[in-house]
């Protein structure tokens, strides 16, 4: 009997770990572009996630712009539609604020401008969180879809042990993987992708090769923001959220990116997946309030023990 419960719990942790992990993976890719590749320390990444959630919320539930799509398709299309809005926002932020403390301006300076980036993005984060409270209010909201309370049942596999696959999470999982694949192919094989990677990798050399580094940066930063926003929109279908939600996830994102190895998009995805897995498994033994604390402990262990990441090749030079 106890064994049945154990098996059921473990199997559900595995499936939840995979589905949620892949959504975290997508979320981490966004930060992976900004922090892993462009080496911009972005404190406000959690707020891009939050903006993605609210963009999706207003498109689907609040503003009902996409209400005609129905409660099944709407939320997921809304999540994808959140990307362009946050992309533009990210690009604008980059143009007016971030570009002044990163890229060509700080290449070669003593700390590569990290001090300035930490401070400016902390400011952006404060403004977006608290401004979000003014604009969106502080009552938690959710993108309503009947799918979030429905599940596919697999089993019983062992005795009465059954695997529950939440429908909203499952669809969100497929959308996340699809977006991640499209993004990967774009970055890997298109001209734009190569220019972005070149500019991010070595801005000075890229300028000499005729790449408009500033534009490339703006696009890459916007893309990083937009990708995380999609993940936010997807998560909005199964959690409720407020303007301060970003904070819980920014550490998860940094864990994922560092774990996956700096500078690798695929690594960021695997890193996010791993963190999602750890989080779901910690739920087996830890009370829910301590799950977030567990993530912080995991993060500290990652940066202390393997700052080069599990999948990364080159270590950040100390």
């Amino acid at each position: 009997m106890d064994l049945e419960i154990l098996i059921e719990n473990v199997l559900n942790a595995v499936t939840a770990g995979i589905t949620i992990g892949c959504i975290y993976g997508l979320m981490c890719i966004g930060l992976g572009l900004i922090f892993g590749i462009m080496r911009i320390v972005n404190f406000a990444q959690g707020e891009f996630l939050m903006l993605g959630m609210f963009a999706s919320f207003y498109l689907v539930t609040g503003g009902k712009v996409l209400a005609f799509l129905g409660p099944y398709w709407g939320p997921f299309i809304g999540a994808i539609c959140a990307a362009p809005a946050v992309f533009v926002g990210g690009a604008v932020l980059h143009k007016f604020l971030i570009s002044r403390v990163s890229g060509l301006r700080t290449a070669g300076s003593l700390d590569e401008g990290h001090f300035g980036q930490l401070v400016v993005t902390l400011g952006i984060s404060l403004i977006l969180q608290n401004g979000g409270q003014i604009v969106f209010g502080s009552t938690p909201v959710a993108v309503r879809t009947p799918l979030s309370s429905e599940a596919y049942l697999i089993g019983p596999v062992y005795g009465a042990a059954t695997v529950f696959l939440n429908k909203a999470k499952l669809i969100a999982f497929f959308v996340a993987i699809l977006v991640a694949i499209v993004l990967y192919l774009t970055l890997e094989y298109t001209r734009l992708g190569k220019a972005l990677r070149a500019a991010a990798d070595n801005p000075t050399a890229a300028t000499y090769m005729g790449i408009e580094v500033d534009t490339a940066y703006r696009i890459a930063f916007g893309l990083g923001a937009g990708i995380t926003a999609i993940a936010g929109g997807l998560m909005a279908t199964y959690i409720s959220f407020g303007p301060f939600v970003g904070f819980d996830y920014v550490i998860i994102m940094y864990s994922g990116v560092v774990l996956g190895g700096m500078g690798s998009i695929l690594g960021a995805f695997w890193g996010g997946l791993t963190v999602g897995f750890v989080q779901q498994f910690s739920a087996l033994i830890l009370p829910p309030q301590l799950q977030n604390a567990a993530i912080f402990v995991v993060f500290l262990m990652i940066v202390l023990l393997r700052p080069q990441g599990l999948f990364g090749r080159s270590a950040e030079r100390a």
Partner: protein, 589 residues
């Protein structure tokens, strides 16, 4: 006390006395209890900023998690009153001690990280504590009243008394900070902030000083938090461990002026009343306006004047008169003469079979050589031959895979960089590593402190080193304003100030014009006269031919040849390594 800081310290203390008395006088005229509360909170947040400034301003170790210490202070005071009916006066002391212990517990693992990894990790601590407290059920704890002992429990009906205590606490914090600023503690922190590796190579134990600054900072932050809890009576995890609390310290300090004790005071005096008033006036319509104001404030200050208001104002209106040169009365000592036996050529440094690989690349492989006392050994070799790696292994920046190195019979390997320096090994770098904002004299004093000299001796030693390299007239100039040649000489002086037995010079002549090069060579020749032992890496052959007694030629990490300069440059394998086989074949044809 450092050179010239005594007067500055007295001036700052006078200013502090004037400001705090003026502040208290203003308090007397404020009757409204809400405004009085704001007047109490300004010094509290200023104190918190001062504490952050010690670690992150002077030391440059950016912490986004200072709420850890603030919150520990706040919860200690509150829970001590709730469970033990302990007086907040003692509670604050207890909180201070716990804050210091927390600093050690947090610092031990976290100081292994640098730069933004350190900043991000510090962020994780208060949040982890926050979740744990929520789990333990301390969502909202309020302090019970003890009306029978109002003084013991800091329960004053007169709100001005809270302001008085807050100002006293702040004055205490500022004095601590001023003392640090004017001592070797402060100089070590400034040096670490500007160039940690250079500070280590100059003998500064960076890890230890950072740890000390975190402990002092954590204790001070806990005091601020403890008193804050007493003033507000109710604590919640979010109000003392939350992100906005950590941000508060960062924001008031950056806004007011980083690495100046006045910065947090100015920042708090402007931002706290502004944010509180806005919150009170507009809070109902615009909740969170405080955070927005803080966000705008730090972005604006970062983009307009990244060092904060204090420095901008000072640079614009109170530009300091040209710094005073070294006082003439300082006797210029002649460097201690070496015993005659030292000249006899007993080996000072012996390197045997030293190896270091990076993955599959053998950067240094089975290198053996020795340097006699008083000798100048030139290390030459093509790019990538492993010369700089050899130096890095010798002075502890990198660890060796194999082999041994001894300085006068004592093993050098396996020691930290600052320890190697204290054994008597001075080092300069291929790319100059200076402390650009410190004046030349302070740059050099860092080296003398590194050697463990007392304040008096350190200044004397630094002055002597500046005379040795001929930079005595530039002693008051910030290092950032020096020419390349002067920087090279200053780095040399910094190494000399620790009275080393052996100097490791890494391409000291790189990027210098012929004339400047001769200039530096003269200085080195003089050092040789004084009996200094030097190991120098150099590419400029004509210079090396004049300077070095003996050459060691490295190629692909191996010793290719050793010997007298003339013999080495005629060695065919050396010519081959430098100019290629074809060239050699054509010469011989």
């Amino acid at each position: 006390m450092r050179q010239g800081t005594g007067r500055q310290l007295r001036r700052n203390l006078t200013a502090l006395a004037v400001v705090s008395v003026a502040y208290l006088v203003v308090t007397l005229f404020v009757a409204n209890s809400y405004y009085q509360l704001i007047l109490t909170l300004v010094p509290v947040w200023a104190l918190f900023g001062v504490s952050w400034n010690i670690l992150s301003g002077y030391g440059g170790q950016l912490s986004f998690g200072h709420a850890s210490f603030f919150g520990i202070g706040a919860y200690t005071v509150t829970l001590a009153v709730v469970y033990w009916s302990l007086s907040p006066w003692l509670g604050i002391l207890l909180g201070m001690m716990l804050g210091g212990l927390a600093a050690i517990a947090i610092g031990l693992p976290t100081f292994r990280l640098r730069g933004h990894y350190f900043a991000l990790s510090m962020l994780a601590y208060p949040l982890a504590i926050l979740y744990v407290l929520q789990y333990l059920g301390f969502q909202e704890v309020s302090m019970p009243m003890h009306r029978e002992h109002p003084v013991v429990f800091m329960e004053f009906s007169e709100p001005r008394l809270y302001t008085l205590i807050a100002v006293c606490l702040l004055v205490g914090g500022v004095v601590v900070s001023l003392v640090i600023e004017s001592s070797r503690f402060g100089l070590a922190l400034l040096a670490i902030r500007q160039n940690e590796l250079a500070a280590e190579a100059a003998g500064i134990n960076a890890r230890l000083w950072k740890m000390r600054s975190l402990v002092v900072s954590g204790m001070m932050a806990a005091v601020a938090g403890g008193f804050y809890a007493r003033v507000l009576v109710v604590v919640t995890p979010d109000s003392v461990f939350g992100m906005l609390v950590s941000a508060q310290a960062v924001v008031v300090t950056l806004f007011g002026g980083v690495a100046s004790v006045w910065g947090p005071l100015i920042g708090a005096a402007i931002l706290v009343p502004l944010a509180e008033t806005l919150q009170a006036e507009l809070g109902t319509y615009l909740p969170g306006i405080q955070g927005v104001v803080y966000g705008i404030a730090i972005i604006a200050i970062m983009l307009r004047s990244p060092d904060g208001l204090f420095w901008t104002i000072r640079d614009r209106w109170f530009r300091q008169k040209a710094s005073t040169p070294i006082p003439d009365l300082m006797p210029v000592m002649t460097p201690p003469a070496r015993p005659a036996s030292a000249r006899a050529g007993a080996p000072l440094l012996t390197v045997e079979n030293l190896s270091r690989a990076f993955g599959g690349l053998k950067a240094v492989s089975a290198v053996s050589f020795s340097i006699a006392e008083g000798e100048i050994l030139g290390i030459i070799g093509p790019n990538g031959a492993g010369k700089t790696t050899l130096f890095n292994v010798l002075n502890g920046v990198l660890s060796a895979d194999d082999g041994s190195a001894q300085l006068a019979g004592q093993p050098m390997l396996g020691r930290k960089t600052f320890e190697v320096c204290r054994m008597g090994v001075g080092r300069t770098f291929q790319v100059v590593r200076s402390f650009p904002r410190l004046p030349v004299l302070d740059n050099v004093i860092v080296g003398a402190y590194g050697a463990g000299l007392s304040d008096r001796d350190a200044i004397a030693s630094a002055v002597r080193a500046l005379h040795q390299v001929g930079l005595q007239d530039q002693s008051g100039v910030a290092a950032g304003q020096l020419t390349n040649k002067q920087l090279r000489l200053m780095e040399l002086a910094r190494a000399l100030a620790g009275s080393p037995r052996l100097l490791l010079l890494d391409e000291t002549l790189a990027g210098l014009a012929r004339e400047e090069c001769d200039n530096v060579l003269e200085v080195l020749a003089q050092l040789r006269e004084q009996g200094m032992t030097i190991c120098i890496i150099e590419h400029t052959m004509h210079a090396m031919m004049r300077l070095a007694d003996r050459f060691v030629v490295l190629d692909h990490g191996r010793v290719l040849a050793t010997g007298l300069p003339r013999a080495v440059v005629e060695n065919t394998s050396v010519i081959e390594a430098y100019l290629g086989k074809k060239w050699l074949a054509r010469q011989n044809a």
